[in-house]
């Protein structure tokens, strides 16, 4: 069930926002796409990740909705190699306390955001695999 490779299940469409965007607009993107995290770009270069947890923290810190994405984003992301198994991805998620991994060749765990990932694998993809023996990806 979890012997499948990440590359067989990853989602290749990565939703991005610009680092200068307001958190209100970024939240709209996340809400409209039904996702809990987006990749943050500076032009064509990825520079960070914005998650729903970052937005909860922003509200807690009293930042207004016009605060810029770069003020609240994380500059590191959590990665898995495309050839890893879903079980290995599940281990990394558990170790790192995250519910989504970016798929980057040769990377494992917390990594500086430098290159465009091949895709994303999330805890919901692994739940689908556990539930039905397949995954929802692609």
């Amino acid at each position: 069930m979890l012997e499948m490779r990440v590359v067989e299940c990853l989602r290749r469409s990565i939703i991005t926002v610009e680092k200068g965007m307001s958190i209100r607009d970024a939240a709209r993107v996340m809400k409209n796409c039904g996702i809990s995290g987006v990749l943050v770009m500076e032009g064509s270069k990825p520079v960070g990740v914005l998650s729903d947890t970052d937005l909860v923290k922003a509200l807690y810190r009293g930042l207004g909705k016009d605060a810029r994405v770069e003020e609240v984003m994380s500059r590191k992301f959590f990665c898995v190699d495309p050839s890893a198994t879903l079980m290995e991805a599940a281990r990394i998620m558990t170790e790192c306390g995250v519910s989504r991994l970016f798929v980057v060749r040769g990377a494992r765990g917390e990594t500086e955001v430098r290159e465009m990932p091949e895709g994303i694998i999330s805890v919901s993809d692994i739940m689908a695999a556990v539930a039905g023996g397949s995954c929802e990806g692609c």
């Binding site: 939240a27 809990s36 909705k65 079980m87 805890v123």
Partner: protein, 137 residues
């Protein structure tokens, strides 16, 4: 100030305490949620299980078809009053490191982690996605 009751999801998805992790994973995938309330034979809530609880159990070597949810659930839940502000909900999520709060109509108890009486009739759930929806406005 925006209130929890304006953004919460009414109703709570539940799973029987004797269900297996595989059944939990099916329910999470079917309802497209990240967690469920765990109920006993009388339908009373006895805990919470999230997708990450299932993930952790599997990485620890537990068999999804043989492990019961009550072995891996969190045997309590965090609650917030529906009249509370979204800022208060954000504060509780950050402090307690959770993404989900059960919403009740009663007065908030002194301690947030809770006694059964407050969980018997939750009005709904507030998740980090609801905070995103609030910021999106």
């Amino acid at each position: 100030m925006a209130k929890v009751k304006e953004y919460m999801t009414r109703g709570v998805y539940t799973v029987d305490r004797r269900a297996t992790l595989k059944e939990v994973a099916r329910a999470i995938a079917k309802y497209r949620v990240s967690g469920l309330a765990v109920v006993d034979e009388e339908g009373e809530i006895v805990g919470v299980v999230s997708d990450t609880d299932v993930l952790r159990a599997i990485t620890e070597g537990k068999e999804p078809e043989r492990t019961r949810v009550e072995e891996v659930m969190t045997p309590f839940a965090l609650i917030i009053e529906e009249e509370a502000s979204m800022e208060e909900a954000a504060r509780m999520m950050v402090h307690e490191k959770v993404h989900r709060l059960f919403v009740v109509r009663e007065e908030k108890p002194e301690h947030p982690s809770l006694s059964k009486q407050y969980l018997l009739r939750p009005a709904g759930v507030l998740t980090s996605s609801d905070i995103v929806a609030y910021i999106a406005e």
